[in-house]
């Protein structure tokens, strides 16, 4: 026994067994219902789009890390998550090279140039989308075709053609639809039988994924709920139909899958609620008073920039700081 070789490492000597790749994998699993519904509503091109953006993102990570002679980290699934999310926030009908380039930009510039996983300030997928839309506005905005299954739907205010590339929020922005109660649209918004970005239309599919993430403890309700409620309250106060605003556009996708991104959201419970409310205010303001019909992407990106400040302002009260003598 005397010369047994022993390993010496600092405590603790056991770990929870959780891992970063497992977290990323859970996000991919949670996105599957939305991915499937995208293919159902928008056809095979949705699948092509998703494959392209994942390829662009993972490819960028591989190439850049090879060039920089750094360990290749595609095995942590994080680039795959970013890639999948990029396809989901782009219109379903765009030239295939757009998701590739958006994925490449998101990983190469927004993530790796800032230091790689954990160091990026902005949500890479949303920054990739913002980049694509700014670079090719015509190609991207024309991509919002309605699902074939929506033919003759209640949305046809001036004939189906007229709105063939107008999302529900665009129709609302143009004043085609509106008012305090738009209940007749709820059902198609909920299942996703409307025009919109590839993965954002089906609230149902997104919520299934969100429940999975909540059950697995990967996200908490703090950011999504404070975000969504804020949008509902503000739009409601302005005489709009709050539920229409919650179900339309990218709010549910953004609130559950983008705003909750660990790297680019606050660390503490209080900060997360402030972050969610901030996203909600910006989204509601952009929708109602801004130039765009939708504001989820820019709201989250703007709030991303505020995260270090929020973290600093919401530091927890350490144990014993409020001394209580019962």
């Amino acid at each position: 026994m005397g010369n047994t070789k022993l390993i010496v490492t600092p405590a603790p000597h056991i770990r929870s067994g959780d891992s970063t790749p497992a977290i990323m994998r859970d996000v991919v699993i949670a996105l599957l219902p939305a991915a499937i519904s995208a293919v159902y509503f928008f056809g095979a091109q949705a699948a092509v789009s998703m494959v392209c953006s994942v390829a662009g993102a993972v490819g960028a990570e591989y190439i850049f890390e090879k060039i920089a002679k750094k360990p290749v980290t595609i095995g942590d699934w994080s680039a795959a998550v970013t890639g999948l999310l990029i396809a989901m926030v782009l219109p379903p009908h765009v030239p295939v090279w757009i998701p590739v380039i958006a994925g490449f930009f998101a990983i190469g510039v927004v993530k790796l140039l800032f230091g790689g996983l954990g160091h990026n300030v902005f949500n890479p997928a949303l920054a990739g989308r913002a980049f694509a839309i700014a670079a090719w506005p015509a190609l991207t905005t024309s991509g919002y075709l309605w699902p074939a299954s929506a033919e003759g739907a209640i949305w046809a205010v001036r004939g189906f053609d007229a709105m063939s590339t107008a999302t529900p929020l665009t129709l609302w922005k143009m004043g085609e639809i509106g008012g305090a109660s738009m209940s007749k649209f709820y059902q198609s918004l909920f299942v996703g039988n409307v025009a919109g970005s590839l993965g954002e239309t089906s609230a149902l599919a997104l919520l299934i994924g969100a429940v999975y993430l909540l059950c697995r403890g990967r996200i908490s309700l703090r950011i999504p709920l404070s975000y969504i409620l804020t949008v509902a309250v503000i739009t409601g106060l302005y005489g709009q139909d709050p539920l229409f605003h919650v179900l339309s556009g990218g709010l549910i996708l953004g609130a559950f899958f983008m705003a909750t991104d660990y790297v680019t959201s606050p660390m503490n419970p209080k900060g997360q609620i402030i972050f969610g409310i901030g996203c909600g205010i910006l989204t509601a303001l952009i929708r109602m008073f801004g130039g765009y019909p939708e504001g989820v992407c820019y709201s989250i990106l703007l709030m991303n920039a505020a995260v270090p400040l929020i973290d600093r302002l919401t530091r927890p009260k350490r144990f014993g700081e409020v001394t209580s003598r019962a």
Binding site: A11, H13, G118, M267, R318, A326
Partner: protein, 446 residues
């Protein structure tokens, strides 16, 4: 916050079933004991015996004039074979007195019970405790006489016994509470006398119903002594968290328990006090849980202080396969030792023998700021930032983020999905901050 718990913490697999129901067994007499002269209190001791001397069991073999030091006693009768270096659990080599037992266990004449305990003054009781070499047996080895010597003006109303034993795998305190509840309560009564309180609460995690029952039965005949079941949640056995769970009080940052009217003592320490007053024995033995997947027959052994890990592991049937790590203490806060020859000390509650596979070092991945460490930190710190400041050498930032409040429980490292060694970085920051504070103080006093 509901009573019985605190914010944060984790509940790792308990792995106590290997030894929880095993009665304690007196370990075989070792062929040699090594009494380290540098114990938990950081006061080096001076030997009071020399090489070649014959010593009796319970005889004092080393002492110090320092206020924070306590003497060491021979756990056996026999011959001092040498005074030389031994590798200790902390990894350094240190002076130790090596004693070879003669097999007689002849008791020293100083080892006589104390009569009329409750007519003695608190000062006298505290001095007897100090002279018996008693330190906190939960792991930190904080000198008990210091703990009981309250500063003037301290307003203490409760003695809180720590029977949480929140470290996975360990069952030493558990077995002590089941098998010797009356001794623990007797020791507590002596401590109550020493600090002048009339109430003792005993905090025990609710995963030990038999200990709760045994202690409750024993407490029912003792005035002012009561058992409180607390939630099984690591680090429930941190004294600050046990106070929070049992009494709802929070010790202020940098403060000690008496700041909220409490003195906390481990149940093992109480039994050691009873051993001294009722049986005349100084602190020369303790219960050690020898456990882990790489040891053949796990057991709760009553072992002489200074027995080597190899003696105890051999008594438990030796290794199963290749051992990876041997940890003194529990898996969350224990220290991995570099040699099987390391002797147990007064605070060694367990020897955990881990297999090669369990000992594999996990590769660190980048921090994704998931915040799990922040959620889990029982001190409500932000390990993620402390880790950053520490790695960047930003000690002022680390201090501003309250690095010194860290209790080193290891929860942050345990939960980190990127397997980052957060607590180690924070310990480093604490070390640097302390060194800088000391240096500033020295400059100030010049």
């Amino acid at each position: 916050m509901p009573k019985g718990s605190f914010r944060g913490g984790v509940h790792p697999p308990e792995n106590k079933e290997r030894t929880a129901t095993l009665r304690t067994v007196v370990a075989r007499r070792p062929s040699q004991v090594a009494i380290a002269l540098h114990q938990g209190s950081n006061c080096p001791l001076t030997p009071t015996v020399a090489k070649g001397d014959y010593v009796r069991m319970g005889q004092k073999v080393a002492d110090t004039d320092e206020k924070w030091g306590v003497p060491a006693h021979s756990p056996v009768s026999g011959k001092v074979v040498s005074i030389g270096l031994v590798r200790t659990a902390s990894g350094v080599e240190d002076q130790a007195i090596f004693i070879e037992p003669d097999g007689e266990d002849a008791l020293d004449e100083s080892c006589v019970p104390v009569d009329n305990v409750f007519s003695r003054s608190p000062e006298e009781i505290i001095r007897i405790i100090r002279d018996a070499g008693i330190v906190g047996m939960g792991g930190a080895e904080f000198p008990t006489h210091i703990k009981l010597s309250l500063p003037p003006g301290a307003n203490v109303d409760t003695l809180l016994l720590n029977g949480a034993e929140c470290e996975p795998c360990l069952t030493a305190d558990h077995r002590l509470m089941v098998e010797r509840p009356r001794d623990i309560i007797r020791g507590a009564q002596i401590m109550m006398r020493a600090i002048g309180v009339s109430r003792t609460l005993i905090g025990i995690e609710d995963n030990k119903p038999d200990a709760i029952r045994a202690m409750g039965d024993a407490a029912s005949s003792a005035a002012g002594v009561e058992v409180v079941a607390v939630k099984t949640r690591y680090p429930q056995g941190s004294e600050k968290h046990l106070i929070k769970s049992v009494l709802g009080r929070e010790v202020p940052p940098g403060g000690l328990p008496f700041a909220v009217g409490v003195v906390v003592s481990n149940v093992g320490t109480c039994a050691a006090v009873s051993n001294r007053f009722d049986r005349g024995l100084p602190l020369i033995e303790r219960i050690v849980t020898v456990t882990g997947s790489a040891v053949a027959k796990p057991a709760n052994l009553v072992a002489k202080i200074g027995t080597s890990a190899s003696d105890l592991i051999e008594e438990c049937g030796g290794f199963v396969g290749q051992p990876g790590k041997i940890v003194f203490g529990g898996p969350m806060m224990g220290m991995a030792v570099s040699s099987v020859d390391v002797p147990i000390g007064k605070g060694t509650s367990g020897i955990l023998v881990m297999s090669r596979e369990e000992s594999e070092d996990l590769k660190e991945m980048p921090c994704i700021k998931c915040g799990q460490c922040v959620d889990a930190c029982p001190m409500r710190l932000e390990p993620v930032f402390l880790h950053q400041w520490s790695n960047a050498g930003l000690w002022d930032e680390a201090e501003a983020y309250h690095a010194m409040d860290c209790i080193e429980c290891g929860v942050c490292t345990y939960v980190c999905p990127s397997r980052r060694n957060l607590v180690q970085a924070i310990k480093r920051a604490k070390f640097e901050i302390s060194a800088r504070r000391r240096a500033a103080k020295e400059r100030g006093s010049k």
